[in-house]
Amino acid sequence: MSCHEGPGPLTAPDPTDPAAPTAPRVVLLGNPNVGKSTLFNTLVGAHQRVMNAPGTTVELHEGTWHTPAGQLRIVDLPGTYSLLARSADEQVAADAALANDRDVVVVTLEAAALPRALYLLGQLLAQRPDGPVVVALTMVDVARDRGITPDPARLERVLGLPVVAVDPRRRAGTRDLETRLTAPATVADGTAALAPARPASPDADDVFAWVTGVLAELDLPEDATATTISDRVDRVLLNPWIGLPVFGAVMWLVFQLATTIAGPVMDATESVFAALGTWILGWLPGPAWVGSFLVDGVLVGFGVVASFVPLLALVFGAIALLEDSGYLARAAFVADRAMQAIGLDGRAMLPLVIGFGCNVPALTATKTLPHARSRLLVGLLIPLTSCPARLTVLLLIASSVFPEHTATAVLGMYAGSIVLVVGAGLVLRRTLFRDLPREGLVLALPAYQRPRPLMLLRAIGTRSLSFVRKAGVVIVTTLAVVWVLLAIPVTPGHTLADVPIEDSAYGAAAHAIAPALEPAGFGDWHFSAALATGFVAKEVVVGSFAQTYSLTEPDDPTQAGDLGAQLRTTLDRTSGGHASAAALAFLVFMVTYTPCLATLAEQRRLFGWRWTLGAAGAQIATAWLLAVLVFQVGRLL
């Protein structure tokens, strides 16, 4: 099943190495959105894993295709238009395609876009004179709708390469492909009796000349611009007056999935784990701290990871649906103008919108962006989108300190979150991401297709499992460490796992951090402890306040009663009588700093520790600076 492996060599197994995998390696190369990944999923099913290409954050999918003739290792490369790479993703594809002549490269040619697909094939043939190449002709039905009927047999004669027409969405043609890949002649020398005609050189002009020659021999209609069903649908969905509202409605639906619909399911999952914890504590023998550690330290981590799974499944399902149907490309086109404001293209909109619902699936949604650097940039902006988990804290503080203006304060914080995203985007584009050129949008629009439920389920399963396996480890480990800090007493008179927070190692750390928050007006251990808890999850910040003040957690954060009074009193004291300014500074800090542990874990999975820790450090520094600024200016007003 799927997992996210570390870097591995992109070369074929060494037949002399007994430890090397023996299955032949087949590499899938093709333009983006030509059905390549669908073909991969159809061939390998669940027998796949996700790995990063060496030294990059570019994902490769590798799987095993079990055929009657034996196993084949299949690698799905990032889509590319050219072997002259213009991004890290394209470089990975080019390097892998040219890595080893023993690999069989399957080039997917979209029948409806033969000129640009043939260009990639021509480049490969020119640069890989000896390695076996097989052509998989995809989207023949789409081509037919658009007035083109390429004949695979004729294409095979013209190219001098094995050509197989495949429709992976209906599992058509996979047997033929299997025959071509497993027939000894094909795998051994790749060409059997066929002799491919190649471009004179890898030079672009020679490849273009070769493409022109191939197209001339195929004798396809020169000017096939028949109006298709997709064109008719686009006439509506890309109409300026209809397209924007439809786009807004789709984004709203995805947002609702991540919040209103996922919320109760997440709560139910947590309840199941809470009940499981109570049951375990009921029968577990031995010292109390053992049960406490297992339930409050370890099981709680599994509960958090499990509670994210339905949310992720819903959002991944929605993204896969949008992608598979063809609408995602249209959504990117409609949103493009707005995203240009921060130097990104329209494909960045969906992850950012999801971020306001939950940062974790939003990070995974960056996979819809085609280039590693764009994914990283958006992945750094997502933690600045304010998710609903922060809302309870905003409501608690705002209603406690300025009850007359609670709504204004909360709305202001959401507006501030958008300003932060735009501001950080502009700053990053002019500093760390100056290499991302502003080139304008040229986006190939795939034909609309009916989504396949099996494909959706597979996408959901692969992504969810990848999160559980990799991000889950970080979450469970960190929560166990937090339990240890909360359980260890640092003052006499307490025992392990039976200590008030203030007297625990966690409380001592909160006391140590508190002075750093004095310039922001909330230099108090209750607040630093709440912020530290918020680092794990914003949902538990209100509970942390209640716990540190030894009060009952309010059901409604806007009716905080004694807790609200305590918070007000503390802020009055720490701010020298400027509680409103200190409260506002705390809200700004809350909106700006690291959203939660799960977000960090997902960032680590996608971008590595260096970017994750760097980003978390930058978020905390920015949060502190903004909070200090707000308090220092606010107390003068």
Binding site: L84, P115, Y119, R146, G243, F333, R337
Partner: protein, 98 residues
């Protein structure tokens, strides 16, 4: 736009000036402004690789919000933003109805 009918668009214009269902032939890609903003010389090659090169027959199939256009390039469809449309010089096929 130069006039009310696409038939009047003879000569070099850029894509932003073409209404829907106009057929044209690409005469060149003007990347001077893009180069001034830091785009590399490989951008011109990428346009060619995608099929947007001199002599390519295109048809504007849709005009989207903010000046973007969808073009048919053979059986392929490309969404182009306004910036890109401005770079693509075309010659309208005289007499081809809108």
């Amino acid at each position: 736009m130069r006039a009310g009918s696409p038939n009047a668009y003879v000569g070099d214009v850029n894509l932003t000036e073409l209404p829907p269902r106009t057929r044209a032939v690409v005469t060149g890609i003007d990347l001077a402004a893009a180069a001034a903003r830091g785009a590399g010389s490989d951008l011109a090659l990428r346009y060619r690789e995608l099929g947007l090169r001199a002599g390519a027959a295109i048809e504007v199939t849709h005009v989207a919000a903010f000046g973007g256009r969808v073009i048919a390039l053979g059986a392929d469809r490309f969404a182009l933003d306004r910036t890109t449309c401005r770079r693509i010089q075309v010659e309208v096929r005289a007499g081809v109805p809108a």
